[in-house]
Symmetry: C2
Subunit: 409 residues, 2 copies
């Protein structure tokens, strides 16, 4: 593939116009939108309005006049359109970690008599930690069982209350067949809880098409909602009346402002919310979601997969370094990031960054690159692949300043 081929793809790209909607520094090719999405340009005005007009002028009255109180359900309802859910099935709340805890506990409440929470070895750590925390808190009721991905479908049994899987793996980018795994869980009477952190805003997810029961997801990756943006959760309509949340707070009460001593859950998805919603963070997230809603999910997925494929293809075609191996899946159902393993993975990422190409490093040896379809061009990705291949060919990573570790890698 030539650079002219890449330019031709850009000329024909129906999503090319979205790049101007982002506030990205000049000279940077940002291949880490899968870790932290960049700011949509609209977020500055959106947050300035929330701070000045709503918080500053409206003060406490803005819970009504600016409808702050509905923000979790409103933004959740918008995210629903990106993941094949009904607006009434999604709400923004807490963090992905806290939501996993809530919904895994909720799944146990829906499957009395079953005690196994089944997940995948090497799942994203916070998912495993949240489930370990739940099991440690309720040892009489729950145990966490993890197996390798290839053994997972066969490990679902009559004691499995819920299968908890990340739709797109954070390292390998392998995507589970959501419909097939959901069906496998249901065939054995278990529920399924999907973590959509690496798929929301990237792949054309269809939770209800797959018959999914529960899901959580992240606001700060492909939704571009800001660092540490609030997360969302999904509870299929058929489960909302029966599921119990272990984390009951006043925002989940049927009548929060009745100030009753006893908790009575809201009859809808709000029952899964806890404390006062984070309005500034919700405003930023809404700007990201609003932008994402303007794009066709099928086009987003197709472009992202094509960008990733071009990057891998160009790097592998040019690279003569046998120490480099592809650590993400290629010819399989997958998400929009790719991972290379290399003994100098950390320095490799630093060397690329010195040339304005931002990727990330995942211990012990993974250089990871994400291909957000809304702000990347084919030519940028072609150039980034050429830069990576050149660094590998010339041992360009072999400089002291690229070896010095930062606190967060």
């Amino acid at each position: 593939m030539t650079r002219d081929d890449a330019l031709a793809l850009d000329a024909a790209d129906p999503l090319a116009g979205f790049r101007d909607a982002f506030d990205l520094p000049a000279g940077v090719t940002y291949l880490d939108g899968n870790s932290l999405g960049p700011p949509p340009r609209a977020v500055h005005a959106r947050l300035a309005r929330t701070m000045s007009r709503e918080w500053g002028q409206g003060l406490v009255r803005s819970w009504n006049t600016a409808d702050w109180i509905s923000a979790p359900a409103r933004v959740g309802g918008k995210i629903a359109r990106l993941i094949g859910a009904k607006p009434s099935e999604v709400v923004v709340a807490d963090s992905t970690t806290v939501n996993l805890f809530k919904l895994a506990a909720g799944a146990l409440s829906l499957r009395p008599g079953r005690g196994t929470i089944l997940s995948e070895t090497g799942n994203f750590p916070t998912d495993l930690y949240a489930l370990q925390g739940l099991a440690a808190l309720t040892p009489e009721r729950a145990r966490l069982h993890t197996v390798a991905a290839e053994d997972l479908p066969g490990a679902i049994d009559g004691d499995t209350a819920v299968v908890v899987l990340t739709h797109v793996h954070y390292k390998t980018a392998r995507a589970w067949d959501m419909a097939a795994l959901t069906a496998a869980a249901h065939a054995r009477g278990a529920l399924i809880l999907w973590d959509l952190s690496h798929s929301t805003g990237a792949l054309a997810v269809d939770l209800n098409g797959a018959g999914a029961d529960l899901a959580v997801g992240c606001g700060y990756k492909y939704l571009n909602g800001g660092p540490g943006a609030p997360a969302f959760l999904f509870v299929a309509e058929r489960h909302q009346a029966a599921i119990a949340s272990p984390l009951t707070g006043w925002m989940g009460h049927a009548q929060p402002f009745a100030f009753e001593d006893g908790f009575r859950p809201a009859a809808d998805i709000r029952a899964q919310t806890t404390g006062t919603p984070p309005i500034l963070a919700l405003a930023a997230l809404e700007a990201g979601v609003d932008l994402q809603l303007q794009a066709d999910p099928a086009q987003v997925e197709a472009k992202g997969l094509a960008l990733a494929d071009i990057f891998v293809g160009e790097v592998m075609a040019r690279c003569g370094d046998p120490a480099l191996t592809l650590a993400s899946v290629r010819d399989a159902r997958r998400g929009l990031h790719v991972a290379f393993a290399h003994p100098q993975g950390y320095a490799l990422v630093q060397a690329l960054m010195s040339q304005g190409v931002v990727g990330d490093f995942r211990a012990p040896d993974i250089a990871r690159f994400g291909f957000s379809p809304l702000f990347l061009s084919f030519a940028q990705v072609w150039d980034a692949a050429a830069a990576l291949a050149e660094i590998l060919a010339t041992r360009g990573w072999d400089r002291p300043e690229f070896q010095a570790r930062a606190a967060v890698t």
Copy 2:
């Protein structure tokens, strides 16, 4: 007391200069900082910098270069100075509700063999709901027992694992004697968990002086951290090694970026954090905390108590409406808000608001007013009391537009 007396108090007020540090609308007397503090002027630039320079220019690198990763501990360490704690004992995380759940469960882990969580009837609802949720999730281990405030010290017994109290009651403003209650809990082998939502930034709290074990608190009231600001939690140093969090997430891991399958808690207060920290919301909160740190806590408490006392005194002295009763304590240990009960409480608050005096209503009949010491003047409070007395004297609340209920009251 005359208006000239109020003006004289303003002239001598060492905190008078703080008013200019807030962005408050002209013509508004804001007596609801106890529900939602107003924006410090500095928050606009602080958040614009976080959005443009840190998020927009730095992108994912800002976890290191802007030290986002330390924000929960850094801001927590600042809050520590306001509540008599060591910086290493406080961290910003999640919501008050979620933190209550975590620390109540943590208290159970520190007191094996004891199962009772003891709290107060009529405590702020989300506190009770969080504890009810924990008890429902762990019925083999925990039960919630609530008693009236006057019966509380006597209800602590050999099965009490933890006493959970709100330092300043959200309606009555009654403040518990923190040292005495903590000692009463300890005398029976129980721990104490204080909710400081209505005292942080208002009263000169001294957790370590009182020997407290655990605490949580709110960022959006007297800390002026923004609507739904993240909350904080305190774990006394002596408990940090042994306390278990039920909500384990990757930010609480000893090495979050080692991406291990098994949770190993951080050795310090970070073990109580869960998901990725909300950076935009933390930036806003830090602006509020930074401002608060410039004021002398003893002066803050003294002025707030004086403002509240003047308001109650003036209203009661002028008001001939026998239907009005004081629902908050007066000649007792107390916080900085006052509450009046009146059958027309809702319309009363609306009528006052039409004159630019913002208070709030708490069902069924409470008109509540908070006296934030940093941005209110004595003359403003004197005028507000005169306005309330006038409305009561003339049945000024008796207009249809003051009776129409909004969604959030």
